[in-house]
């Protein structure tokens, strides 16, 4: 065995069991949305896309914010701490990208039967697309910056810039005239019925739980790949 002094070996377990358990719980939540809750007065059955679209959008917002929070810590930390926060920011921004893409695609599928179009250059849709492209840009810059310290710095700054777009996406339906409906939930006032609200909250919680398990696994994967690269270099 080649023992590399000062290097921490990667974790032994990727965290498969929590991913499977939370995926099963999420499927249960989708089942409630598809088969348990009643149809909508205006949209009939097609509104059921809500239970995957809204949790995806919220997950995108939360993971981009989480990525920016870790990015702030990268800029303030040194050495191993900076690497650890950078791994967290990297995994968070990947999830932000994934969920922004999912929100766009499910929104587009919902738009076709309700608005008659797959896409419109509406403020909410356009700002979400910008968020997705900024997330992609952050990941690409990370990929194309080989020097670790420069990579951490560039990724941290672009992650922070990306997070600035999240409030713009959220408030876009209030700030500009939009084809998109206003927020389903605003403080102390919901536009959805009680059972729809309940199932939506359950699905938001389950999607966030599932994404948390993905985050843990991915962060371990990134740390393992970095440990391997460092060990190869030191050996």
């Amino acid at each position: 065995m080649t023992v590399v002094v000062g290097l921490q070996a990667p974790a032994r377990d990727a965290g498969l069991a929590p991913v499977i358990a939370s995926a099963a719980a999420l499927l249960g939540g989708w089942g409630l949305g598809l088969f348990w809750v009643g149809s909508d007065t205006d949209q009939g059955e097609v509104y059921r896309i809500l239970f995957v679209h809204v949790p995806s959008a919220w997950a995108a917002f939360i993971w981009v914010f989480a990525g920016a929070w870790s990015a702030l810590r990268v800029l303030r930390a040194r050495g191993d701490d900076a690497a650890r926060h950078d791994n967290a920011s990297h995994a968070s921004m990947e999830l932000g990208t994934l969920y922004a893409a999912l929100a766009l695609v499910t929104g587009s599928i919902w738009g076709r039967p309700t608005w008659g179009v797959w896409w419109d250059w509406d403020p909410r849709l356009t700002s979400t697309l910008v968020l997705f492209l900024l997330c992609c840009g952050t990941l690409l810059l990370r990929q194309f910056t080989p020097e670790p310290q420069a990579r951490r710095r560039v990724a941290a700054i672009t992650s922070l810039l990306t997070a600035v777009n999240v409030p713009i996406v959220y408030f876009s339906v209030n700030l500009w005239r939009s084809l998109h409906q206003p927020q389903t939930f605003v403080a102390r006032k919901s536009t959805a019925s009680a059972d729809i609200s309940l199932v939506l909250w359950i699905n938001v919680a389950l999607m966030l739980l599932f994404s948390w398990t993905l985050y843990r696994s991915r962060k371990r994967g990134i740390a393992a790949a970095e440990a391997l690269a460092a060990a190869r270099e030191a050996a």
Partner: protein
């Protein structure tokens, strides 16, 4: 309003498409996350790297 819109005809195609796409996106990312860890860990073991922590 479109023919396949509020009248519900064909709704199941849109709803099922959204859920299938979501399952594919999330499932693919989960597979990628788990596989990237497994490959790195396997290479670490195969190449015989240890660490002070593991030696203890």
């Amino acid at each position: 309003m479109t023919p396949e819109g509020f009248g519900n005809a064909g709704w199941i195609n849109y709803v099922s498409a959204a859920y299938v796409v979501a399952a594919l996106f999330l499932g693919s990312y989960a597979a990628f996350a788990l596989r990237s860890f497994t490959l790195a860990r396997k290479a670490w073991d195969d190449e015989g790297f240890g660490s002070e922590a593991e030696r203890e």
